[in-house]
């Protein structure tokens, strides 16, 4: 992989800096972000609190007081920018492994898929086709956000890509599988939400009292498979 991708490093606040590879969604860019994230997890910069990967950028949060202990006259953020830039000179070109492959069951039946009929209508495509297309690809988890355990996955086939709802739904049930643009995702908790809901999984993707608390992480791979409502109930009962 190209380790010489152009980037810029900037301060977000007194206690956060970001390394940004540009304003696009691209698997290779994201792998580069994750490679640096993994490197920093194993070799944290002095004073670092955490590093957070996004689609095409990585943000490093740090403790100002801890960094200032060795920053001298420089601001903590300047010092961290230099440390991160130095880190980029090191050999962290290797893409991380493709993470864990998760096969996640989804029931696409009517009560779980309030927005499927809209997609059938708008895209002039059959229900079975939508399900086949959604299950065909292996998706890459670009980043986590929005809610605890919510994975932004992509990219879905343009034949089933749908814009976000103009007016978000007041309540989307936990486990709901949605589409927004060329992304797909699973709601870990019930929440208001603007994604088009096409099914529901009985597998919890977030459980605060289970280790690990989140099923997915950035860099993981996800493939969906279709199940009946009977199978849905059966699998769900195993988790309760």
């Amino acid at each position: 992989m190209d380790s010489l991708l152009p980037y810029r490093i900037y301060a977000n606040s007194e206690s956060a800096i970001t390394i940004d590879f540009g304003n696009h969604i691209d698997r290779n860019l994201n792998r580069r972000v994750l490679a640096i994230h993994h490197f920093l997890q194993a070799n944290p910069l002095e004073g670092m609190v955490e590093s957070v990967p996004a689609y095409s950028s990585l943000t490093v949060y740090f403790d100002i007081l801890a960094v200032k202990k060795h920053a001298g006259e420089e601001t903590a953020s300047r010092c961290m920018e230099e440390a991160l830039a130095a880190c980029m000179q090191k050999d962290i070109a290797h893409a991380p492994d493709d993470g864990i492959l998760h096969r996640i069951p989804v029931c696409y039946d009517e009560p779980f898929a309030p927005d499927l009929s809209l997609i059938i209508h708008e895209k002039n495509i059959s229900r079975t086709n939508i399900i086949d297309i959604h299950c065909e690809r292996t998706y890459h988890v670009f980043m986590m956000g929005f809610l605890p355990g919510f994975a932004y996955m992509g990219e879905i086939d343009t034949r089933i890509a749908m814009p976000r709802k103009k007016q978000p739904a007041k309540r989307v049930e936990a486990g709901s599988v949605g589409i927004a643009g060329r992304q797909t995702g699973i709601y870990p908790l019930h929440s208001p939400g603007g994604w088009q809901i096409i099914g529901r999984t009985p597998v919890p993707v977030f459980d605060p009292f289970h280790e690990p608390v989140c099923l997915l992480k950035a860099g993981d791979q996800v493939q969906f498979y279709s199940i009946s409502s009977h199978e849905f109930e059966h699998i769900k009962s195993r988790y309760s």
Binding site: N12, S13, I25, T75, C214
Partner: protein, 329 residues
């Protein structure tokens, strides 16, 4: 040995400095809205800054101490009364078992912190005691406090000798945190990564206009009412990590400021960032109050923050020494 809730307030939660290391999983740090006031409250009772406190909004709760305790209240002033006698914020107070604490009216600010010496005896979730309401975890049973909840205290303390016949005793000395004596309207900000997406006029308006905190403001964020600052930029921004104090420009030209329970990622242009030292005064702003932004840079922001932290550290040391001297003569 606990603190019992006689009547719940509108939103009473257990908080600390926040939960770190889990933003990569979409789990936001949360924590106290006013971290500075949390530090002051803890310092006053000789606690380390990371100790757990109760964050109180108005209408506030009524509480009963089922054991002796040394407490302090900092942040918003909701006119605290103990056993129907007025007490003051920013002082350590020794309370005897059976004392009842209530709050009469909100005179300043929105978030009030109640610290108890040695803290509460609760289980952390992912390394923090902050209440994560959405996740239903952390704090006290992962939810706001309710009537009849009993929050265990970590350490027993006997104040019979110290307090004599008094049911409570306010210490003479107080914290005089500068930024709490009054609540200035000026909020200092640094330019955000998308500052230059604003037009020249919008930049001027951002600095010269006043903005009103909207009633749609909560622990997640403050929405502001003000002149339309619509940027000329059509580009759609890809989501990236955001922080407490990030000021985002919404598609309708209005601003929103991210607060303690903000989501980890944001996709709106980040035009500015409230400096850390002013998070406290921002957190204490109420809906309908106005604010003015003024530009500063990272270096100046850091200097004010370091000064603030140094003052807090001195307060913490002074209070610890004094309390040890008084309580364990």
């Amino acid at each position: 040995m606990s603190l019992s809730i006689l009547k719940a307030g509108i939103l009473d939660t257990i908080q600390d400095q926040g939960r770190f290391g889990f933003r990569q999983f979409g789990i936001n740090p949360g924590g106290a809205m006013d971290q500075y006031a949390l530090q002051v409250a803890n310092a006053l009772v000789g606690n380390p800054f990371e100790e757990t406190v109760i964050e109180i909004h108005f209408p506030a709760p009524e509480l009963e101490f089922l054991a002796d305790a040394v407490i302090a209240i900092a942040g918003a002033d909701f006119t605290p009364f103990i056993n129907n006698r007025k007490t003051d914020i920013l002082h350590p107070v020794a309370v005897r078992q059976g004392a009842r604490l209530r709050f009469e009216k909100s005179v300043m600010g929105t978030c009030c912190y109640l610290a108890v010496r040695s803290g509460f005896d609760l289980q952390p979730w992912l390394g923090s005691h902050s209440t994560h309401i959405k996740a239903g975890a952390g704090g006290f049973k992962g939810r706001p406090l309710k009537k009849d909840d009993s929050i265990p205290l970590k350490k027993n303390i006997n104040l019979s000798e110290f307090a004599g016949d008094n049911d409570f005793l306010q210490f003479h000395w107080k914290a005089a945190p500068q930024s709490m004596d009054h609540l200035p309207e000026n909020i200092s900000v640094m330019r955000g990564p998308e500052w230059d997406w604003l037009t020249q006029d919008a930049k001027k308006n951002f600095i010269h206009d006043e903005f009103i905190i909207s009633s749609q403001s909560d622990r997640m964020g403050y929405r502001l009412h003000g002149n339309d600052l619509s940027s000329g930029v059509e580009e759609e921004l890809i989501s990236s990590a955001v922080s407490f104090g990030s000021i985002q420009l919404l598609p309708n030209g209005q601003l929103t400021i991210l607060m303690a329970d903000h989501q980890t990622m944001g996709g709106y242009p980040r035009i500015a960032q409230v400096i850390a030292a002013h998070h406290s005064r921002l957190a204490q702003k109420k809906p309908k109050e106005k604010i003015h932004f003024q530009l500063t840079d990272n270096k100046s922001a850091e200097i004010i923050y370091l000064k603030q932290q140094e003052d807090l550290r001195l307060l913490q040391i002074a209070c610890s020494l004094k309390l040890d001297e008084i309580l364990y003569p």
